[in-house]
């Protein structure tokens, strides 16, 4: 495969996005679903083309494009995630007055940004991918144009996002000036080489890490996340909760993994990230306890989850991280999907009080939602338990016991607010009238698939772990 062959999967996605933008102008409102089908087709095509590159481990464009198994695994993850988001969004956008075909196109562009980010080790490419992702995300967040919260979320995301980008760019400038390279192998050589420029280089690295910490919403760089998650259209929130986070962590582990054996763990960087992980888990879960808006509660929960993922990074456990991300994708999209299931035209039910008695009124939705919540809370034998458990074992193995202690404590706190929703659904009399739009087969399909994923990965994780093992060999 030559260099141009290697970008074909990306081009399929971008091309589909362009076609979607063009067709959008000509399609009638009731035919917008065709755009979704077209997008799904492109995702499948991209998946097939990417699958061909599995185990190839080739690099193109002087190493700027790197299709190793880790990149491909994450690409598949993103393809599935975006497919799910499209499916849960189809009905949603027409019900919530955001029926713009651009929804699909922007999602595809955001996907291309993710793919670019994870399949490169060169920071210019990663940065440009990040910007493609960010720019599409800003407008995705504001897609419900008549909704004040949606616009506010777009503003906040945009302002904070470009503020963080500026830090990232400045960090890159310093890194490039000191290390004279922006690809990860070059940076590794630089940091292993010797004392020249090291101090300034570390400052550059620090600023770059701040930029990525923003994207993966690590405390204290997380403040944008709750507002943006709450205001954005729910399918978009589902996308935010997994897409940027997974890509950010992939970059982070690619960046940090090579130092693993180089006295890194006694260093200050490690210590600081350790503290951030602890802070993120505790703060995320503690604030989530106070929330009455479930979407916002999930935003904080997703922040806390970034803390757990950071443990995997600190433990140098690439396989654990990928496994965690895979499982989190199913849980998170499932949970947000269940929120979408509880909506009707022009009305979304996101307050805790809305959920009183829902378990009896809509037994299927209630039961499925409960499974996702239990999984997020980490109850065995759901996948959520296994994900955390894997990471914790790896961390204890690496001597990160105090951090695991905090993580276990934090995750026990978190159980409280997840179960609070279940208690509302099953142990409360309905407080107010809740009527929902039942006819939404695409959404139910996604809920079913996520449910399947959560149970399958909880009970029979073998196959996925096998793939991850292959993938992670490339990462470390």
């Amino acid at each position: 495969m030559n260099s141009f062959g290697a970008v074909v999967p990306l081009l399929v996605v971008v091309g589909a996005a362009l076609i979607v933008f063009l067709l959008e102008a000509f399609l009638k409102k009731e035919n917008k679903n065709y755009l979704a089908y077209l997008s799904l087709l492109a995702l499948i095509g991209c998946g097939i083309l990417s699958a061909n590159a599995w185990n190839g481990g080739l690099t193109y464009f002087d190493g700027m494009l790197r299709l190793d198994n880790a990149a491909l695994f994450l690409t598949f993850l993103f393809l599935i995630a975006v497919a799910f988001v499209i499916l849960i969004g189809m009905k949603y956008i027409s019900l919530q007055d955001a029926n713009h075909g651009e929804f699909y196109g922007l999602l595809l562009l955001a996907l291309s940004g993710l793919m670019i980010m994870v399949s490169s080790t060169h920071f210019i490419v990663i940065f440009l991918g990040l910007e493609v992702l960010s720019v599409s995300s800003y407008s995705l967040a504001g897609l419900k144009r008549k909704d004040d919260k949606s616009s506010e979320s777009a503003v906040k995301y945009f302002l904070m996002g470009s503020f963080a980008s500026a830090f990232l760019v400045f960090g890159l400038a310093i890194l490039f000036g000191t290390a004279q390279a922006l690809d990860i192998p070059g940076l590794v050589d630089f940091f292993k080489a010797g004392p020249d420029n090291q101090v300034l280089g570390v400052v550059g690295l620090g600023l770059v890490l701040v930029g990525f910490a923003f994207k993966i919403a690590i405390v204290p760089f997380h403040m944008w996340a709750p507002d943006v998650y709450e205001g954005a259209p729910t399918p978009v929130t589902a996308f935010f909760s997994i897409g940027p986070k997974a890509a950010g962590f992939a970059v982070l582990i690619r960046l940090l993994a090579p130092y693993w054996n180089a006295g890194f763990r006694s260093g200050k960087l490690f210590g600081f990230l350790w503290a951030l992980a602890a802070l993120t888990m505790l703060a995320g879960n503690l604030i989530a306890l106070r929330q009455n808006n479930i979407k916002r509660m999930f935003a904080y929960s997703s922040i806390a989850y970034a803390g757990y993922m950071l443990i995997a990074v600190l433990a140098g456990d690439g396989a654990g991280l990928l496994f965690f991300l895979t499982i989190y994708m199913f849980m998170s999209i499932g949970a947000f999907g269940s929120l979408i299931a509880l909506s009707r035209k022009g009305r979304e039910y996101n307050e805790l009080g809305d959920f009183a008695g829902v378990g009896f009124k809509y037994p299927w939705i209630g039961a499925i939602f409960a499974v996702f919540l239990l999984s997020l809370a980490g109850f065995p034998p759901t996948a959520g338990f296994l994900a955390k458990f894997y990471v914790f074992v790896a961390a204890v193995n690496q001597g990160l016991t105090p951090l695991v202690l905090i993580a276990v404590l934090a995750s026990l706190i978190s159980v409280y607010y997840y179960l609070r929703i279940i208690v509302y659904m099953y142990m409360r009399e309905p407080e107010r009238e809740v009527s929902i739009e039942m006819e939404n087969p695409a959404l139910y399909l996604v809920l079913f698939l996520c449910l399947y994923g959560v149970l399958q990965l909880g009970l029979f994780p073998g196959n996925v772990l096998y793939l991850i093992k292959q993938a992670v060999a490339a990462l470390l």
Partner: protein
């Protein structure tokens, strides 16, 4: 024959799924038959496996059946696998046997509840989780069961969620158990790291080979014991159990007396090599058990709610089981677990029958003289009370005596003394309950009396069966003094619980100890009689019935006065004080404080989240500045 053991857990879970999915379309009768039938099927499998296992030579245990490799990659392995050995045999028989009877009882008890199907779905699911817990061949799978029973318990405590107190109780049980679970998870993680596997056989092997240091073993054992104190309601995490009585009574009998709360004891017994190896941890187990046994008993003395008396009694009896495990008499601990399952569920179910008969009244001050109204409930209740009090020839006597004798033999005199003190109080509060409920003046409210009726057959038949077992269950574990081979139970468990260094005491001492146990039980009952029947206004019939006792008391009235003033009154007052100050203020206070502390931090943290972008950027900038500062300096 034994090979069928892996089928044991599945009937209840299938039944539960059917009830969840098709529940609304099934008739009540069908639900009852299906739910009870599923547990009965499990019981049959358990029985078949048990009978088969009797023929197997001890070396072949445990029999492991891996259903599928669950966690196969990474630094450790854990299969979805069950193991069957004498210990799990005892547990599955108790869980399915007692469980079946309680299911049957529930048919009558819950007959008029609108959540009938939901109730049985939860109860079936609970049985499944409990069976997973006791059959698991590794600790990860055991944790699956461990969390599963916790979740079901939570759902069932809050079953009548319309009652705010029930919802609050569920919440409390939940929070307290989180703390215990934290210990369990950490212990589990350390085991995985130290041993590289969580299979019980691998853990035992690693200990046998001395693969990990004693200090680590102690740490792991203590962490796991923290888990056990949560689940088995020991000091300091016992507080949830009395409140858990807000759930339906059969639930209290099944989960909070016979099965789930014994999970901690089961785990300690299962890991007996680890605890024995540590030594220190075993001593802690014994001490905590003994303290809990006495402490909970003092609180049972003054409760007026019939179920709360039983709840404190359960905590106290669980303490005895831990004494047994702690002093190295694991077999005796498990033996007490097994006998306790019968007589305590019997007591709960009889209490349920009383409550049912009185249309939900649980306050003993509003009972009295019920003996003649409830002719089929009273005898089983009495048998249960005698059994738990430790009167000879009933099951409770044998098991409690085995524990106390071993404690004495091991030289743990303090623990033994505490155990004996607890035994006096056990007899006292049990008979106080009997006297207040079934004897004496009728203090029943008019409305309740109007509806007063004996419970239906489906409730009283399980009572009768359990009563029979409460009497005879002890005869499989006769004291060693009756012959080397008298303790069948202990010998049966030997493949799992290797006999340790037994403390040697002479036959004479053993008889003496037994006598002491009997004596304290008698004193307790006697005292209860004096203080709850021998009051002004006692019906003459009672005096006529126990003339010798009456005369004895009458003539030695000043002794009673002194006894009362010196022992009982301080005890009662102390108990009140402990309940009022320690239980309500310290423990609840600690819980509330930790809740409000988390609330406070959450408040502070979300206070920063002002909604203004500029403040967000400020925090971001602060983070960046600190980050660079840390990296540079």
């Amino acid at each position: 024959m034994t090979d069928v053991f892996w089928l044991i857990p599945f009937a209840p879970v299938l039944s539960s799924l059917v009830l969840v999915v098709f529940g609304s379309k099934l008739s009540k009768k069908w639900v009852s038959v299906q739910a009870c039938g599923a547990v009965f099927l499990s019981f049959v499998f358990a029985l078949v496996a048990f009978l088969g296992s009797l023929k197997i030579s001890p070396e072949e245990f445990p029999i492991v059946k891996t259903l599928f490799p669950w966690i196969g990659a990474g630094s450790f392995q854990a299969g979805f696998s069950f193991q069957f050995d004498p210990l799990s045999a005892v547990m599955v028989l108790v869980v399915t046997g007692v469980g079946f009877l309680i299911h049957l009882y529930s048919v009558g008890y819950m007959a008029h509840d609108k959540g009938y199907t939901r109730y049985f779905a939860y109860l079936n699911l609970f049985t499944f989780a409990m069976l997973i817990l006791v059959l698991a061949s590794n600790m990860v799978l055991m944790f699956v069961g461990w969390e599963g029973v916790g979740l079901c318990s939570y759902l069932l405590i809050g079953f009548w969620f319309e009652k705010p107190s029930a919802a609050a109780a569920g919440k409390k049980a939940f929070i307290v158990n989180r703390i215990g679970d934290m210990g369990f998870i950490l212990g589990l993680l350390f085991i995985l790291v130290a041993v590289g596997s969580s299979e019980f056989s691998a853990i035992n092997k690693a200990i046998g080979q001395g693969l990990f240091p004693q200090a680590l073993a102690t740490l792991i054992a203590i962490l796991l014991f923290v888990g056990a104190t949560g689940k088995s309601a020991q000091i300091p995490l016992y507080v949830w159990l009395p409140d858990a009585m807000e759930g339906p009574t059969p639930v209290s009998a099944l989960i909070h007396a016979a099965t789930m709360v014994t999970a901690g004891v089961y785990m300690v017994a299962r890991l007996n090599l680890l605890f024995a190896f540590s030594g220190t941890a075993a001593d802690i187990v014994a001490l905590v058990g003994a303290l809990t046994a006495v402490f909970a008993a003092t609180m049972a003395l003054t409760q007026n709610d019939i179920k709360r008396v039983l709840a404190y009694s359960t905590i106290s009896q669980l303490g005895y089981m831990f004494i047994g495990c702690g002093v190295g008499a694991y077999a005796a601990g498990v033996f007490h677990l097994y006998t306790h399952a019968f007589f305590k569920s019997l007591l709960f179910l009889s209490a349920g029958s009383v409550i049912h008969a009185l249309s939900g009244q649980q306050d003993m001050r509003k009972m009295g003289g019920l003996r003649k109204y409830l002719p089929r409930t009273f005898p089983p209740f009495l048998i249960g009370a005698i059994a738990i009090s430790g009167i000879p020839f009933l099951s409770g006597f044998f098991s409690k005596d085995a524990i106390l004798t071993e404690a004495f033999a091991q030289g743990q005199y303090f623990v033994w003394a505490l155990g004996l003190t607890g035994a006096v109080m056990t007899a006292f509060y049990m008979f106080r309950l009997i006297f207040l409920t079934f004897y004496g003046q009728e203090r029943i409210e008019h409305e309740a009396k109007h509806h007063l009726h004996e419970s239906p057959k489906s409730m009283t038949v399980p009572l009768a069966i359990l009563a029979v077992f409460s009497v005879i269950a002890g005869y499989v574990g006769l004291p060693a003094v009756l012959g080397e081979k008298a303790d069948l139970f202990k010998r049966f468990l030997e493949p799992v619980i290797k006999p340790g260094a037994e403390g040697h005491i002479g036959a004479g001492t053993e008889w003496l100890l037994m006598l002491a146990s009997v004596a304290v039980a008698a004193v307790g009952i006697f005292a209860a009689y004096v203080f709850y029947l021998q009051k002004p206004g006692i019906p003459h019939t009672l005096v006529a019935r126990f003339p010798w006792l009456y005369k004895l008391l009458y003539n030695k009235y000043f002794v009673d006065e002194i006894y009362g003033a010196v022992i009982v009154n301080p005890l009662v007052k102390g108990s009140d004080w402990v309940y009022g100050h320690f239980d309500l203020k310290v423990i609840d206070g600690a819980l509330n404080a930790s809740a409000s502390a988390t609330g406070f931090f959450g408040k502070v943290l979300s206070f920063v989240q002002t909604g203004f972008v500029k403040d967000y950027a400020l925090v971001f900038l602060l983070g960046a500045v600190i980050f660079l500062g840390v990296l540079l300096f």
